[in-house]
Symmetry: D5
Subunit: 187 residues, 10 copies
């Protein structure tokens, strides 16, 4: 069964954020929109560029009332050191979540058994803890956060306007569709 429209499973993990170690759980994902961004391993190659990309759009996410979480199977100890030693990662003001127990990578079905690492997966979760979009890549292929922002906006729009749907390549402010029997077979 697809993860889309299922609720995030209960979890508990340690994260590094803004000079502190904090505990993150499924409870943190309730009450506001969340974007979970899984990546394979601290100190590697693509991952800092993706964190930097997320950091550059963090203002937009915050304005949209969404929180961002980076997740790897490293410890929060490694995440602190990574944040301190990488200029790119150092830009992250959001939580870098450690998942050495593999709870999260398994719950979001992005675990690579033979490596103990995560695939590149992005999940948009609504304030009820329901997964609305997912995107998973082979680790050699990085993502584009601009597209994640577009999806978040679309997800928020249709949540707020339950009688409308966002058409292909919809961007904030563009026209939407209001499904009705009259449109059936007419588009």
């Amino acid at each position: 069964m697809s993860l889309i429209n299922t609720e995030v499973k209960p979890f508990k993990a340690q994260a590094y954020q803004n000079g502190k170690f904090i505990e993150i759980s499924d409870a943190n994902l309730k009450g506001k929109w969340s974007v979970l961004i899984f990546m394979p391993a601290a100190f590697t190659f693509n991952c800092p560029t993706e964190i930097e990309d997320a950091a550059e759009h963090y203002g937009e996410f915050q304005k949209a009332g969404a929180e961002v979480y980076i997740v790897t199977t490293d410890t929060h100890f490694s995440h602190k050191v990574w944040h301190e030693t990488s200029q790119a990662v150092g830009k992250a003001q959001f939580a870098l979540v450690g998942d050495p127990t593999h709870q999260l990578t398994k719950a979001f079905d992005v675990h690579i058994e033979e490596e103990g690492l995560a695939l590149r997966g992005t999940f948009i979760v609504n304030p009820e803890g329901i997964i609305k979009t997912m995107e998973v890549h082979d680790n050699a292929i990085a993502r584009d956060v601009t597209e994640t922002v577009r999806k978040l906006k679309a997800a928020q729009y249709v949540a707020a306007h339950p009688n409308e749907v966002c058409p292909a390549k919809w961007k904030e402010g563009e026209k939407t569709l209001a499904p009705s029997i009259d449109l059936v077979g007419k588009i």
Copy 2:
């Protein structure tokens, strides 16, 4: 287990393409890149806009040596009528694959049990039949084919250059990264 880096399961289905009914199977996905685009139902609202979006990028896909397949749980009969009666869908020169047996929607884990319909899922499959990227949305949130093209290009680039990876928001022609021990902890 994630579908990423697994092989497409065997299947057989009837499709409508360019005025003909043809049979499509997993054998068709071997030897070139494929993009499978699942959507819920013929004659509905968002779907024609997404097919139109795909049709407008079909030249790019073809130039990249990739084939496009639209899949719904409707029959190929419905797909023919849809193609004839919808101006948007009529632009499709690629196959509209019928999946009334639910073989494909279940194999790609996009089946909605209580509706008998597919979620909006896009899958890029390499010439060996291995899934390299996946993207699945709640049906109210449409996709943007531009991003699918970008991912296809990145997937093709790293397939051709196995010692490089594409960084965040990489676009064709941009710089890539060559992982090496020297870069560990330095980006």
Copy 3:
């Protein structure tokens, strides 16, 4: 076990009828006689002729207090388009029920696993939801609604006259038989 004299299983489905989308469930089959007519697929060959045949007898069914339901594994969206585009199907004033979940085709044992489509099956259901007659054909062999009307009348007659039975080829108004020990071995 035969379906004859068993109760219709619970189901819920979307249908197109007279310009509206409506929900049909097992509850709709209670309180009056029902005739369920399964057929393989919208937009195909024999099906419109069978719907037309049903439409031409719809007055008789209504006079007999019976409702007619056409069922295919297509969606109600396809059914609306079919109704609009086929002159024959357009005559249908009864519900065209979509069964993309295969609930009904499986409950009435007319599902073709390898095609995802229904066999041609007709079922007469009494006001208690009990199946009284069934008739199923290979899809190349169409039915004759005149015979369905004859069966409905016979089913209604014996329901109303529990001590009588309808003999071979009985038609409304003809003589019936009242079983009694005296007749045993005498006919």
Copy 4:
């Protein structure tokens, strides 16, 4: 799974026909068309009228190269006496098959467990032993052999003309349909 398009299961039974006791098995159903007519019990009420109806159409069945078999759960001994003592049954020149072991009533899914008797079921079987049509009634509702003849003719026609289908209420000599992509959505 529906019995339609499945092969008749192996069986062996004793029958009375034309003053002789003969053994009938699944082998007898191979090489020509067969019509199996199940009914509840010898010496009862509707059954003789149905046998008489079949007897009156026996010439047509023979001309069409089809054999007729009446089946009840009585013994062949009872069938002989029935044939001798009932004027209606005495017209039968075809086999009256005894099924006291319930092999046939169970194989054709017309067995009533709490009575040990058959439902009224008619099955048309092709020369390969494949069931092409089935019709089953509550025992108070008798059949009309005219309709069985019509179905047999249609089944034989489409067997002989594999590219055609018989439309609704088709009768021998009438026009058929030749399915082609051009007709899809056009009828």
Copy 5:
């Protein structure tokens, strides 16, 4: 385990007796002695001679307060016709029980699976529904009701005189034995 000294299992069946159809159940076997006589099939060879033999001793059974039941796997319909058409069977004033469901032949372990018929079995049942004697033959070997009467009398005698036993070939009125330790090793 032997059926001797076990209770008759619950059953319900239709019988023909004296021009009427009646229902017989295990309740009928309570409160008086019963003799159940199974035989293979109505209208056959030995069976009428055995029924006639039973009919000729029916007075004795009745004087002894015992009821007689003939059981075959035929229907009560066949039993009526048999009674009417056979001079021998026509003498029967006791019930001819139909067992087309095979409930009784299986409960008394006289069912022939490959024929669907009963073996020749005679069972004497006491007023508590407990089986006291049983006798079963291959169907080619008929019974002698005189011996059944002798056994019934012996069964009734020891039921009435719990401290006595009937010696070999005891007949009503002859001497019995009163077991006691003094007789042990002395007879």
Copy 6:
């Protein structure tokens, strides 16, 4: 399943006969007719009268080419003493078989679990080792060997004349019936 027409199970037992201890097995039952007479216990009340009854008919059994076996769950040691100390039992020239292992009482389904003793059961076995008649009584009710002789003769007659059956109360020399279709429904 009834024991009638099944083969005797393999067994091995010690017996006392004519001043010797001998071993009896299923092999002894092959090649001639056998009569097995089970009874509860040596030194008791009815049993000597039944052995005496058998002894008085032993000549007839021998003339008919049949062997007699008495079986109890006692040892062959007890049987020797019984034979020596009881005048009635002392008449037995046939084998007194000991069954302390309960092999035989269980194989012939005459074992009383809570007593470790046999019921009064008589079995006629043909030269192929197949059981043709059985008769079992509550232990207070003794048998009549005259009837056993009559059954043996009938069993032997129909074995020798496979197209005939022995009617009710048939005795050696009396008329038999030759089943044929002409007799069906005529007796």
Copy 7:
């Protein structure tokens, strides 16, 4: 698990004692010491000598407050005859218990499956029904009751003096040992 120090299982059996048939159960073994002596079969070779040996020591057993039980798989009927006809066995004033149900031989693990007889086993049971000593022989090797008396005395002594143990070959009246830490390693 050893039977030593386990409780005797519930049982019920018929015995012959002093001209009477009595019922013996596990309840009889409670409240006084018991000696159970199993042997293979009445009327055989060693068994009478062992019963005679027990009879000659019966006075000692009684003086010690112990009861003796002989057990074979024969019936109590055989035991009566044995007692009457064997001079040796006739000396027995204790119960000769019949175990044709094999309850006792199985509960005391002395049953020989392929013979249905007991091994030579002697068991001393205390007034709580707990087995304190056991001794079992191949049937060709008889026991010596003198040793059984010695064991009984020892068992009774240590039961009465819980802080003492009887050393090797202890006989009534001899010195015992009082275990204490001081003796550890000193004997």
Copy 8:
């Protein structure tokens, strides 16, 4: 099932004998008679008296061609110390077998689960490794080796004279019995 007449299970253990550590296995029990004497624990109270008793009869055992083995769940290390420190145990010239793995105490069914120690059990094993007698006591009740010698002699006598049995309390040189049918019921 009783251990009598079963073969000793395979085992391997360390023993102390005559100043040496040796390995003892089931192979050692083949080819001559063996006496296995289990006892609870080295350094305790009764055990040395029993070993001394065995030691005093060791000449007789050897003359009879039998070997003696003492077994406890202690180690062979403890056995050496015991032999050196106890005057009584020091007399033992036979093997003191250590069974800390509990292989032997479990195979001979003398293990006390809650103590990890053996019961007092003596077993006579023939040269084929078959157990012929067993004797097991509660640990407070010691054995008498004189009786073990008597049993060994009887076991050897009947092994050498298969047509004779040793009567009650038989001692070497006394009369035996030769079972024959003539003796049945005569002793």
Copy 9:
């Protein structure tokens, strides 16, 4: 799962200590620190040296409020003799626990199945009965109690100072570390 940080399983055993036999159970391990020292067998080679080593540090253990237990699979009887006969072992004032039931060796996972003996294992257990350190050797390699004392002190220190940890080769009185986020990546 590791035994570290699990609770000691319930057990009960007999021990020798200071001239007395006492019972030791898991209850004894609660309320103070415990050191369990397993070794293979009494009277052997390395074991006395290890007991002597423990005895020489017993004062330190006592000062630290810890109790010492030696455990082997021998009995407490052997332990007494060992204590009396070995000068080294005789120094032990702590309990020598006997484990002939193998409860403890199995609960602490130091049992050698094929020998019935323990491995050399040392376990430090806190006053809640939780195992904090474990150390297990092949039996040829002895331990050094000095190191056990060091570990006990470290375990007690961190129990008393939950915010500190003892660094490598820490000895009582040396500096410890207080983990804090500031130290992460800085040592």
Copy 10:
């Protein structure tokens, strides 16, 4: 079962050593002695002190022909950064093995399920891949490498001198013990 004297399970892992990433597998542990040192996490508190302690004794290990492996559940990427950024860790010339798949922590039974980290465990493995000593601590209690060196030397000594054992607190060069029966009970 204890891990002592079992073979290391097959594994494969990535490690950082001397500026290179290398693959380590069970094959690396064959042919020389190995010391595996598990610790919880890179960048933490005690771990660097333990690595430093190991580094300071690395010369001794190498002289003894032994290789050292540090293992945590971090990646080899983290290990490189740790080595570069920590002065203590930077002293390590041996492999820092990453175990993000948890293969090693589970195979050596030091995995903490709820943290995804290792316990502090040290294992000495011989050139055949057999574990000879193990030592596991709660993570707050660090080890002392001096003791590990002592154990390694003892393990190597007894491997080279199979007839000797190392007594308590043995250090290289000290006297060993040669087990012999003469020493049993004498130390």
